[in-house]
Symmetry: C2
Subunit: 342 residues, 2 copies
């Protein structure tokens, strides 16, 4: 074993993967795109096969104190298939591997699979395999999703160009604020044993945390309007982190506008209660499961008529940095978060 | 959450998967084979795409006290691609997701990937993606392998017929005895702080535990001799458990012969030291990463000339049970192990 002890925290999530895998070279000609995008692309003859895999760990990605097993299964599927959608693909199969400690009952695992089944039915994907194992350390869920795309139709992270519009679906920061609220009520419960947590008025943010949906219909809308994004990613790490990932891979900078970032009323209200600027969870919260994509400028009229999409800024040339622009024109650099799992 | 609390241990590994997934129905016509075989089969146009996913958990599948990170990475790849080979496919890509706790250094993760890289190079597969995450509970490794097979060439678990020959590659029980030896030396070390564990004379069993290989050349040999197995599985759970899996899915019984089960000299010698019958680890030890397959009887002459394969018994008709036959003709029922991870 090596004598050197560099802490993992020195690298961000993407940094560690890049650092370690840079010496890997593909030998199979079917490996079209490997490490570094939402999903891997495999040439399977007529179509492209897309594949993505995610880990979901107890204590990092979920806390079973306030996460029902059914919701957990649902969310694990959404998380995996969102990477296939983000390549402009259609997910078709998921594979679920579980590490289960002895404190779980068969009924709990059945509830987990009920949630998996609900998500599979809604998004028309098949549970096609997996693995189960005992675990000494709680619940581990690994989900692999596969799907397909026609050749020439996939959208990667590296295609953005200066002046492209930066577009998003939905709103941001809600899942993070939902988590803060659940955490606060848990702490209150542990301290004062209040039986009934007070979550009324915050159904939206809690729903976004516990049972997210993916805006897959937007991809069909774009297609029917003949709008083809130049780059795309699903926002799971956080709007800032995922946008920077596109800028890095496309070799561009970006400017996004403070007042354009969509934030739901409940998210804002709750951020106020917690004494934080709502833009902070919107940029860095993560788990939004929305689409972030860039578009050549000539699409501006078409996209402004699309109610499900908002333009939040534009790409800039290489080396100009990544900034959020305030209402007064002041620029603040945005940065990816460090290692926090995800 | 349900009031019912059925312990997971009531089901074996295969039993739990079967119980929970029986209500899942496929909707995508590309899902050719789903849950229940070594790998899932996806129709990708010209060829079939095979996919398999495995979890590898610290404390269940490996102990870092005596497992070097490099070996661990190597073995995780072997484990995943063996499922693709067992469908008579060719593995082409692996995807590795890691959950890493803060006690690991970047250098240790680099060593892990070095082992992954070595296995990828040897078996000509590409590392094509993955996911990393922090973990509160040690090291979690999830490996997904994909590969391809020509249409009509895959071999499943359900094709065995009564009177088919039961064939195996390699020998059995060595990886298990290697683990027992490493465990014994670890306990001695903890008790008496002996610096140098005494492993001499047992290099083979320790190698089989720490750095297994898969007998993929046998598949080419069978093909070149025009021998087509009627069913096939990779032996990872244990010879008994995996053979019973074939019998169950093919609706047959089986008879295997005590004196025909291949056991290496080191395995036998070590089993004697531990006061156990060498046939016990051979049948139930697992982690052998050998091929187990059945063949129509007319292949008997061809297969007996193949030095890499041994015939250990034959399939019998449905309902006749699964037995091992001693030298004196006595029959002892063989059974799958219970829930022990894997």
């Amino acid at each position: 074993m090596s004598e050197n002890k560099t802490p993992i925290s020195e690298y961000g999530k993407y940094g560690l993967i890049n650092h370690i895998t840079k010496k890997f070279r593909s030998v199979n000609k079917t490996t079209v795109t490997g490490i570094g995008d939402d999903a891997a692309v495999i040439d399977s003859g007529k179509n492209l096969t897309l594949l993505s895999t995610d880990l979901f760990l107890e204590g990092i990605h979920f806390n079973l104190i306030y996460t029902p097993m059914k919701h957990l299964g649902y969310k694990a599927v959404i998380r995996a298939i969102s990477d296939i959608y983000a390549m402009n693909g259609t997910p078709t199969q998921v594979f679920v591997s579980l590490g289960i400690s002895s404190r779980f009952s068969v009924e709990q695992i059945e509830e987990l699979y009920e949630g998996i089944n609900m998500a599979c039915n809604k998004y028309k994907v098949d549970l096609a395999g997996g693995d189960t194992s005992s675990s000494v350390t709680g619940l581990t869920i690994s989900v692999t999703a596969t799907g397909y795309a026609e050749k020439g139709s996939i959208i990667k992270r590296d295609g953005a160009r200066p002046n492209d519009l930066i577009c998003v679906t939905g709103d941001f920061g809600a899942a993070f604020m939902g988590l803060q609220l659940l955490e606060r009520e848990r702490r209150l419960f542990e301290k004062e044993k209040v039986i009934q947590p007070d979550l009324s008025g915050y159904e939206y943010v809690i729903g976004r945390q516990l049972k997210p949906e993916f805006p897959s219909p937007v991809l069909s809308e774009l297609k029917s309007l003949n709008i083809r994004p130049s780059s795309m990613i699903d926002v799971s790490e956080g709007l800032a982190s995922d946008l920077i990932q596109i800028c890095r891979q496309s070799d561009t900078g970006c400017r996004i506008f403070y007042s354009k970032i969509p934030v739901d009323y409940e998210t804002s209200k709750l951020a106020e209660e917690f004494n934080i600027d709502p833009i902070t969870p919107a940029l860095n919260g993560g788990e939004d499961y929305e689409l972030l994509f860039t578009l050549p400028l000539e699409n501006i009229d078409k996209i402004e008529n699309l109610k499900t999409v908002r333009v939040i800024g534009h790409m800039t040339s290489s080396g100009t940095g990544n900034y959020i622009v305030g209402d007064d024109g002041s620029e603040v650099e945005i940065s990816a978060q460090g290692w926090k799992g995800g």
